[in-house]
Symmetry: C2
Subunit: 204 residues, 2 copies
């Protein structure tokens, strides 16, 4: 095996280090977060850090990088109080990746990427049309992670839309039926296939 010590990692060139450390936490969720400012300008950004926080109440979290550069998504969700989380399917990976390009404020990544805004149930923030899972969230809180000035943003689920054939009778959502992808590092997109679903584990 290749071995890197902390000291060796610290001394790596920045691009190599970013690739290495971003890929060694394992596969990541692949989501597009949609927001709209109160003035009406939309933002769409790709995130690979959405994490389950709890089911009762239904809470999700995600990590935001330091706010030393403008973060339109964050500004919009704080201002409007809402955002959407949309899963990335195989047929939208190229467009989804393009939302990571740095556009100035006021330019919509929907238009630039070719993804289409969708509005439903009078929810203020835009969904991504054709995303197999769409989640409407309210902004709840954020926590500053002092070690590197990142933020853990906490959102509560207000509406949930799931493509019909992905929902199994016990509430489990089979992600590969929607061709949902997963992210490897910063720029790799992989398509999973279900191997097995195990029963609840009990001591032998």
């Amino acid at each position: 095996m290749q071995h890197f010590t902390k000291e060796a990692i610290d001394e790596l060139a920045s691009r190599y280090k970013n690739n290495l450390i971003n890929s060694i936490s394992g596969y990541k969720s692949a989501n597009l977060i949609g927001t709209k400012s109160n003035a009406g300008s939309c933002n769409l950004a790709i995130f690979n850090s959405v994490v389950h926080l709890g089911s009762n109440p239904a809470l999700l979290g995600f990590i935001l990088r330091p706010t030393t550069v403008p973060r339109h998504s964050y500004q919009n969700m704080k201002e409007s109080g809402v955002f959407t989380i949309n899963h990335i399917a195989k047929n939208q990976i190229e467009a989804a990746h393009h939302t990571s390009a740095k556009y100035p404020e006021g330019i919509s990544e929907f238009e630039q990427s070719g993804l289409i805004e969708e509005y439903k149930n009078d929810f203020f923030a835009p969904f991504v049309k054709l995303a197999p899972v769409q989640i409407a969230c309210s902004y709840v809180n954020d926590y500053l992670i002092e070690e590197n000035n990142t933020l853990l943003v906490v959102g509560a689920i207000e509406h949930l839309y799931v493509k019909d054939d992905m929902l199994v009778e016990d509430g489990w959502v089979q992600l590969d039926k929607g061709e949902i992808v997963t992210i490897n590092g910063l720029d790799g997109y992989a398509l999973p296939s279900l191997l097995e679903r195990f029963p609840y584990a009990r001591p032998k």
Copy 2:
């Protein structure tokens, strides 16, 4: 699409709700966290919430459920100051899932699951033998998420071991070359295949 409002979700039966809300954040990382108490008893637990916090310094985080029930992993890492994160490959999913069975304190999930402890570089906490990626971490901090009493635990990477053929020349680690799996919900294990790696996105 199936539509659930917040109110409908709140009223779902507990098992259905757990399945639904645990699967709708998207694919999750599949890791085994290894710890050892100062008295020498080992613990191994499966986690699906490991997330990248930053590359410089190299920091990872993960979510721990409320500490109202004993959490041996958490106790051990606070006491010893260290833990390991080990990726789950296809050939270890059944054993890895079994570590979620509730064994009393003092019983090692290594022995119960058939996974094998490995020690290297004098690191105190046990690695999982044959895991294609093994990460030695020091415990740095934790943050209480007040909305549901979960904890975000922050760890710093001290050593990193990666199977030779997974490491690409620009530092990217190709996870499918190690047959690393991803978790769908609480109990589904899926195997991804790389579709595409995109260049850095720039405005059109």
